[in-house]
Amino acid sequence: MTLQREEDAARDRTSAVFSRPRETASEAETQAVGAELAPRLSPGDVVALYGDLGAGKTQLVKGICAALGVDPTLVSSPTFTIVQEYTGRTGPLYHIDAYRIADPAEFFELGYEEYFYGEGLCFVEWPERVEALLPPHTLRLRLTHAGGDRRRIEPMAPPR
């Protein structure tokens, strides 16, 4: 499959997984959106979560992982650890946070292909820090503050 075709396929997959934008008004609601996404994701998927501090990225991952059978109390922010691994019903779940990564080369050195091209399902917070390494089949979601306690979650096209 050509790169262009893979990207088109990823766009189609993103629409299949997440067709319409959602708004949430609490952490619990953000987690509920995650629970709704969970059954549509498969091992090997890479889900990139774009969004500012406090936009709900970790809460969304918590919702997805809980729906896949992970004890939600195990799911916390991996900012310091960079990668946290959980075991879900469908296999390994890699919760990655690139916040502390200054240069994609560092993530390359970390053995990124074990995660992005492995058997597990990957979630990537702060994916813009490792944009060049994201595989063509990456599913992209954007989380934004929408005033008050509200957050908007929507599919996103790959940056050009």
């Binding site: 501090l53 406090g54 970790t58 109390t73 310091f80 946290q84 990564i101 200054a102 560092e106 050195e109």
Partner: protein, 337 residues
């Protein structure tokens, strides 16, 4: 019998470290930090396991030389096998296994968090067991009960961000440098903690949450337009830092006091990088005086990631006869039980 000489090795995250403990006393403590602090609000870790590979042999050699001992003097080799980054853990663990096997000495696998729990045994007054241990760092926020026989009970932990991470992220929101902990601490000393009441999240049991606090600082700043925000920060940066820090400290200390009251345990250790925070120390000391418990805070060098705590935990495990097979594998998601 000769006192045991334990080599400790730690490579779970950014730092490659080795230390030697003889008869329970620290003889050397070497840390090669791969961190370069940069002006963009985060660590620039050369996270490469390749860097650990480059550093592991010289770091171990230096630890042995500083301790004035040779490989032949070692009784056992203790090493962190989780939690942490798979690639980083593997370097330290593979080296330790080969080294122990080559020397014909036992291997002792140590949980990184066990290291933090026993870091209070490296130097200074040591708590009797049972004691409560609050581990607060960039990666961890956990309250544990430590009993004899290497029994550890998790009382509570963070459900989202670690306390140290909240400091780093709020420092970034306030336009401060990295690492956020010391900067906010310094600034907070000149600010008014009552400037604004940021929310204290109190959960069931002893669990913590700092994500809502971080978001409320963000929302507070977002009420202002760019010019208003700049003016606010110009005038009240120290006050906001103090108010934020007070919220973190209140949540941590409240949980400790409740645990002391509930368990009746009168000895409390605070370990991990955030234990250096002067606001936390002052509040914990005040609580200790008021509630009648004894507080133990190790020197800062033993609160950051280091191998002295791994060697000391290794010493305690060796005394308890807890060695590990050479088939020990790295466990990135290792929990403490």
């Amino acid at each position: 019998m000769e006192p045991p000489v334990i080599l400790g090795i730690e490579s779970s995250c950014d730092d490659t470290a080795a230390a030697v403990v003889a008869g329970g006393a620290l003889r050397s403590n070497v840390v090669a930090s791969q961190r370069v602090h940069a002006g963009f609000g985060g660590v620039v870790p050369e996270l490469a396991s390749r860097a650990h590979q480059r550093l592991i042999v010289p770091v171990v050699e230096e630890a042995l030389a500083e301790a004035g001992c040779t490989r032949a003097d070692l009784t056992a080799v203790a090493v962190t096998y989780g939690p942490g980054l798979a690639g980083s853990l593997l370097v330290g663990l593979s080296f330790a296994k080969a080294f122990a096997f080559g020397l014909g000495r036992p291997l002792i696998g140590v949980n990184h968090l066990e290291g933090h729990l026993y870091s209070v045994f490296i130097e200074g007054p040591r708590p009797p067991r049972p004691y409560l241990c609050l581990v607060v760092s960039g990666g961890h926020t956990q309250l544990m009960l430590v009993e004899d026989g290497l029994r550890h009970t998790l009382l509570g932990k963070t459900r989202d961000d670690a306390a140290g991470e909240a400091f780093d992220k709020v420092a970034k929101l306030l336009g401060l440098g990295y690492p956020g902990g010391p900067v906010i601490d310094r600034l907070a000393q000149t600010g008014d903690p009552a400037f604004r009441a940021f929310p204290r999240t109190r959960l069931d049991g002893y669990d913590f949450s700092f994500s809502g606090l971080k978001t409320s600082v963000l929302y507070y700043l977002n009420r202002f337009d760019e010019a208003g925000r700049a003016a606010l920060l110009e005038r009240h940066r120290a006050d906001i830092a103090a108010a934020f820090q007070q919220a973190v400290v209140d949540v941590l200390v409240e949980a400790v006091r409740r645990a002391v009251a509930d368990t009746g345990v009168r000895h409390v250790a605070i370990t991990g990088g955030v234990s250096a925070n002067s606001g936390l120390r002052a509040a914990a000391e005040a609580a200790a005086a008021q509630d009648g418990f004894t507080l133990y805070v190790p020197p800062l060098a033993y609160c950051m990631d280091n191998a002295a705590m791994i060697a000391v935990a290794g010493h305690i495990k060796w005394e308890a006869g807890r060695t590990s097979p050479l088939t020990l594998t790295a466990e990135p998601a290792l929990a403490l039980s």
